[in-house]
Symmetry: C2
Subunit: 271 residues, 2 copies
């Protein structure tokens, strides 16, 4: 038996998109309390019984793991701890008290220490993480300039661990992603009074997404889907640009069809 | 006659606050089309007749100028150009095509070239730009940590010329200022769903403001006033922190009284 893969699923639609696009059929495991949309997990596990979950994976000859979907920091209930958890507790307790990135690195390290390979979504479904290229629409000079400006802004933001996205139109930064996320940012742009919006004739503006500089690309890549596109359209922008290899496309086919239909661009831009 | 001062007023309430707090009585000059709130200008001028304005200032023995209030880029109407404007046109035309910071630097240089000293609001009204210190309320350990995190974020944003403010609560960046400005950012925080807000018991969060790194502090310092405080309160935050010497307080007395009454902090933090 070779390289059997399991997805460790959080909430949202990414796990289902990943299963749909996978070249082989992965097992789906969900952390208790986090429900992937449109998928019935093969297995559920609790943090307090992580050792039992590791046994379950090993019994099924799983060798590769992919983390997909949103998981907020779970709380550890001491009363439910499995006795076999003792050896994991120091790492786990430390991880739960660290910042997001450090916590994820610790959890990945824990799985790797047990012999699993932790890989990115692109290893399972390469088409979800496209390399450089224009996937829909056309780009003008102004759009390319806006994308360059936005990439600089998102890199600066990522360096201070704030967000993974920004909206730029004609060189002006209309919004920057913080904790509330991309959809909240786009709603704020949609609600901007007209006198604060540049004249669309001279450049329609765009949403730009990229991972943080130095981020482990196996986890927490920004995602772009048909809903994102709809929100970008509602915000009166011309399209979406992202760092090539640095964002996951949800439902790529529908995304591209819809963008083409609305005359919007989708561009995986080389860093 | 020594050091007579003129304020070059844009829109908003800063010019009136500056006049009220000035140690001597400055002349108020307004660019045509920009109305300071609560002030009747001593003189109005047009960009096309800048030479006449310079003469006017010199006749009144004005030696110091302070720029105060918001001025959006004026358009130059060639039909209205005064013949005496010829020698200023190359600098002016260049300035009007530059980015905001470069345009302001060019305009300042133009006035300096004519022998005027361009000074900051603090030269006229030192109490409007307070040095380090706690002006109202009390700070906890958590508030100090949030202020440090926010200062790092605003510095990173300023370096890419995005904004001069951010909201941080318990280490989490809830919002970042972009084109729409501080009040729009605070309104977005006020509208955040409760499940995205950290538990206020563990830190109430704050608004932080600072000029951009390397910014000419004679112009465009961020302003904080009673209205800002009200918006900060509506956003459920604990207070306002700013870079000491890097923000202008509008109506300082009312601001401090109001903050004390609401149990909110006002802290000019040393960089």
């Amino acid at each position: 038996m070779t390289d059997r893969t399991a997805i460790i699923a959080g909430s949202g639609s990414l796990p289902a998109a990943l299963v749909a696009a996978s070249v082989d059929a992965p097992l789906v495991c969900a952390l208790d309390g986090f429900d992937p949309v449109g998928l019935v997990p093969d297995h559920r596990f609790r943090v307090e019984g992580l050792n039992l979950f590791l046994d379950w994976l090993q019994e099924r000859a799983v060798t590769r793991l992919v983390f997909a979907g949103a998981i907020t920091r779970p709380r550890l209930d001491p009363a439910r701890l499995d006795p076999g958890m003792a050896r994991f507790l120091p790492v786990l307790a430390g991880a739960l008290q660290s910042g997001d990135d450090a916590a994820l690195r610790a959890v990945i390290g824990l799985f790797e220490g047990e012999g699993f390979a932790v890989v990115g979504a692109d290893a399972l479904a390469p088409e979800l993480v496209p390399g450089p290229g224009l996937l829909a629409g056309e780009l003008g000079e102004r759009d390319r300039a806006d994308a360059g400006r936005a990439a600089g802004i998102v890199a600066a933001l990522g360096a201070v661990d704030v967000g993974q996205a920004a909206v730029v139109q004609q060189g002006l930064c209309l919004a920057v992603e913080a904790l509330p996320g991309t959809d909240a940012m786009l709603a704020a742009v949609a609600a901007l009074p007209a006198n604060l919006r540049p004249d669309p004739v001279r450049g329609r503006g765009l949403l730009y997404k990229a991972p943080k500089p130095g981020q482990d690309r196996r986890i927490d890549l920004p995602a772009i889907g048909p809903e994102t596109l709809q929100n970008v359209a509602s915000a009166g922008l011309g399209g979406i640009v992202w760092e090539a290899g640095g964002a996951i496309l949800l439902d790529r086919e529908r995304l591209c069809t819809e963008a083409a239909r609305q005359g919007m661009f989708l561009w995986a831009r080389e860093r």
